[in-house]
Symmetry: C2
């Protein structure tokens, strides 16, 4: 009645923004991501304990604990008290949303500890209910999370579209700010869906982004993938900007790095940028170019990490 699981964070290359169902975390758009290898969340769940107890990175946090136990209620509404110990091998300030790896690891550890033998698809469906992007962190490598059409969310899960060793790609995470953002992505995306005049067009054009990106991944065409990733990113931020009140996560160094990425491309280095609900920039490039790019952007970063495609969530 105890299990430990590991799951990795992921970066969306075709972005997720907006929900068609808020309580179930059903997305308004399909998305594609790449899972990252060097960073992970490790979570142990003890199914049956004297009381509900939750330790995250060595600390007891009541806010996070509430979300964790609500999630365990989804695994089993009649569950016993549980003990959860979770830690990330990366700092919060690493510029990566940890909720994806956290809920993927929790879904796997909790269902194993409860002796439920869930398939990866079932795990993806479960993890999604904790945090949308966690649906993708069940898988390593290149992953698609399909929007689905069912109102109960039963067809809104992720699946691999290429294995992790498919392509020797690097993702550079350029951290330009470690300040807490003013508005959470959860709140911001709901506000966008409600008030942005661009939200409908954002949704209507997502399938085409998926089609082009998927083709690019299958053909290992970084230029095609990068171009579509930047387009999806810029559409997402355009949708945010037009939200009322406007949502603007960028900082001045976000733009300095975008300028540098553009300059690097002009000098023949194939590299492409994306951002999520925050000011940090993630750069997609070939393994051979990673060091040169990291050097070029470093003066605008607090820290930068070079990561490769990661593996599936797993029991250890």
């Amino acid at each position: 009645m105890k299990a430990t699981a590991i799951a990795h964070p992921n970066i969306a290359v075709i972005k997720y923004w907006g929900k068609r169902d808020i309580p179930l975390n059903l997305p308004s758009v399909p998305s594609i991501s790449v899972t990252l290898s060097q960073f992970f969340t490790e979570t142990t769940v003890e199914w049956g304990s004297s009381k509900d107890q939750c330790t995250l990175n060595g600390e007891e946090s009541s806010d996070a604990a509430r979300k964790v136990f609500q999630f365990l209620d989804r695994v089993d509404a009649d569950r016993p008290y549980c003990r959860v110990v979770s830690r990330n091998n990366f700092p919060t300030a690493a510029g990566l949303a940890s909720s994806a790896s956290a809920f993927a690891a929790l879904a796997l550890a909790a269902s194993s500890a409860a002796n439920k033998n869930l398939s990866p698809r079932e795990l993806s469906l479960l993890a999604r209910q904790g945090s949308g992007s966690a649906a993708r962190s069940i898988w390593g490598g290149w992953v698609q999370w399909q929007k689905g059409i069912n109102s109960d969310g039963s067809d809104s899960y992720a699946f691999p579209i290429a294995p992790q060793d498919h392509w020797d790609i690097r993702i550079i995470v350029a951290v330009v700010s470690d300040q807490k953002k003013k508005i959470s992505s959860r709140k911001a995306m709901n506000l966008s869906a409600e008030t942005s005049p661009f939200f409908q067009a954002w949704c209507d054009t997502a399938e085409e982004d998926i089609r082009i990106a998927k083709e690019a991944i299958q053909n290992k065409n970084l230029n095609q993938l990068g171009r579509q990733m930047e387009h999806s990113t810029m559409k997402m931020f355009g949708t945010m900007f037009a939200t009322q009140p406007s949502i603007r996560y960028w900082k001045s160094d976000t733009l300095s790095i975008l300028d540098k990425v553009e300059t690097l491309r002009e000098t023949g280095i194939d590299c492409w940028a994306t951002m999520d609900a925050g000011p940090n920039v993630k750069i997609l490039c070939l393994a051979k170019d990673a060091e040169k790019i990291q050097t070029a952007i470093d003066e605008n970063c607090i820290v930068s990490h070079v990561l490769s495609a990661g593996s599936d969530a797993r029991i250890i």
Copy 2:
């Protein structure tokens, strides 16, 4: 057969982006602007000369001259040779598009020199054909340029919606870069209309921006006007970002100043930002707050100018 005219540049508060007819400069959206007082273009046209001759800011520029003489052909297809001498009292690096004041002054000077007694509405229609935003610089103070529906453009002209002394407003122009932009607004807006998935929604929501901004100007409600101006601005940039390839005029200091404007607002100073096809920021505020705001933003500017609402184009 010689006349000298003055016209002032203007800043759009409800933005112009995209054309429903490219050769005629008919806009896809209506816009509202405020004309600026301290800066102007002064243009002399001599109708009848030994050859076509054009001096801009003391220099003969063949590129600009071609546009000027094409414009004079619109005033009179059978015109004689003309001599045009034009100068701005502000440097190109002042962060203001000079084409608005330039074509407004040229329209007035040329039509006067040719002894055509045009009404302001006719002047606005004529100036528009040189540069869209020039339609608005015929008038001082607060000006609306209506989109019109006629295919010949006969109803796409500007008119005042409040006189220049209506409201003691200041416009701070914060210049963050004097580099030439990579893509002209003329090219960029056509590319947006062709490829941005947000262009239709941009057009569909413009009339509502006009209605709210007009009401705000009439009621001297800076909070309401500023909010709508920022929304119109963010929609315009969102539309640009989603253009393929993406159009991004902002520099890192553009964002630093936006952050400062937001911070100033949080401390109770009513100020609001807008940008055009470039990285410079224009801040709308009450006269009493202008100095404080200028001090707050100055470290991120090459130079900043505090301007007030300007007057009509006129013969001098």
